[in-house]
Symmetry: C2
Subunit: 296 residues, 2 copies
């Protein structure tokens, strides 16, 4: 059975569309690789690229794109609202089908080593690929940004996983990682009272005592006259969608507020939906192998 | 995006494993085609084969298998409990991914014509591929079986869609069709009273006034000490799983019997699960394109 991964490299260029075009060129019309989206953001001055495909073919394509980004982007003159440490800022590998996290970590190690060896850019492994717990959190790795990296890399605690202890002069350092797919999941409440969304978000998110893999906050949908609990489910296997949804319903009862429904922003892995179906239909002996398309 | 179909040819040989092996040989180790299962049944003297893959490659592989079945099976000496009209009895094409029913009907027409032209076997198109409403129901097409086909084909109403009005001497006639995937879905009731399963099956099935696309009956699971409503969902798009499940729960209340859960036998299309998720989570603006794997 074919293995499929997703990869979401972030490049520190969000304005010059010609440069962006050149960077993503190696990801296009390539056998075994499908470019899903290229999303430049002018304010962030950053482009998020989304591809899926066969593991080694994705790795090879991304390796080439990182090479081009290294040539075209000079962080000494880069300004943008999003923090960054490299011309290629981060490259996360994400297991999608018939592949374990372990194999995605291997891909991160392989790519990280090649980026350091061939492009002379120091590399940090992060999230699931991190070599120590201080490097799991990307924000901690990136702290100090491009401008602070020369100093940071002198600290033995921040010796890069690959490459020298000196940032690349124009391309900085790169974070290469492995993680599960994020699910952006929002739940709509039948009220205009943003405080209710705030309280429910607080009840379910990890940072204030809720579920381990939920990040949540309130949002106002003024046009619709409702509020929303807006979430990132960072591990849908351990905090499944149905559990969050039913908990939000349960909390909403305190306020006499109806849950109107929900929405998924972007994409969701088939397994995340199937796990919730297993709950609602009380499916016995269900496994992903039962899903017809899993056999491809 | 790749198109994927399923095909479930039924061959009238369920005992001689050597013959079966020869018939399915063209379906093995073939690029773009995956053989999911080969299930011979001795009592039926019939083998159900399950393959998925790229439309034209599946068609070509099945065409070859039908040729071998025509050489190896002589219906004049075939005995079995399952009714049959041909050495290759039926060949249904089933849309799975990025393909419409219309295209599966085209495949049925193409294969039907080739079987008639090259193997000299008359062909009836059935279900979605049927050319008139009398031929939609496979049981009506097959009525009279192999032994009665010579007589049946003389009736102008039963002129085959392709080929002559005389059955093949040893291979009879073949039904080639197009249909949606069946979902075999069973719901468990917390009681030993089979009459309750009977009554609920009656309430939900088409034949006695229930849902248009549900076939249902009762079953006893003696080892578990429970009963089951056992179903075939013949169109999961028009009668979705959640609707059947919630209706069975609603009916079970009449008897004070709990619904313990459910099970899916064999495979289920991703879309059938996703449609039920849409209901339970009240998902706004959901489409199959949001499922990560749909982009492959």
């Amino acid at each position: 059975m074919d293995q499929i991964i997703q990869c979401v490299p972030n490049f520190s260029e969000g304005k010059d569309l010609e440069k962006i075009e050149k960077i993503v060129a190696p990801l296009k019309n390539r056998e075994g690789v499908k470019l899903l989206s290229v999303e430049p953001d002018k304010d962030y001055n950053r482009t998020v690229v989304n591809i899926i495909g066969e593991p080694l073919k994705v790795l090879e394509a991304v390796y080439e794109a990182v090479g081009i980004a290294t040539e075209l982007i000079d962080l000494n003159i880069h300004r943008g609202e999003h923090s960054r440490m490299g011309a290629t800022d981060v490259v996360p590998f994400i297991p999608v089908k018939n592949i374990e996290m372990e194999e995605c970590i291997e891909l991160a190690i392989t790519l990280g080593k090649r980026i350091a060896d061939d492009y002379k850019i120091p590399v940090f492994l992060y999230e699931e690929a991190a070599t120590c717990k201080e490097r799991v959190n990307l924000a901690a790795v990136r702290k100090g940004q491009f401008e602070g990296m020369a100093e940071k890399l002198k600290d033995p605690q921040w010796k890069p996983d690959f490459g020298q202890c000196i940032p690349h002069k124009t391309a900085g350092v790169v974070g290469v990682g492995a993680r599960l797919p994020l699910v952006a999941f929002n739940i709509n409440l039948g009220t205009t009272d943003i405080n209710i969304a705030k309280n429910i978000a607080k009840a379910i998110r990890h940072s204030s005592g809720g579920f381990r893999y939920i990040k949540a906050g309130p949002a106002e949908l003024k046009e619709k006259g409702i509020v929303q609990v807006t979430m990132n489910v960072v591990n849908y296997k351990k905090t499944p969608l149905y559990r969050v949804f039913e908990t939000v319903k349960m909390e909403a009862k305190r306020y006499g507020v109806p849950v109107l429904g929900s929405e998924i922003i972007g994409s969701v892995p088939m397994e995340a939906l199937a796990m919730s179906m297993e709950y609602y239909l009380g499916l016995d002996g269900f496994s992903m192998e039962k899903v017809l398309e899993s056999n491809l």
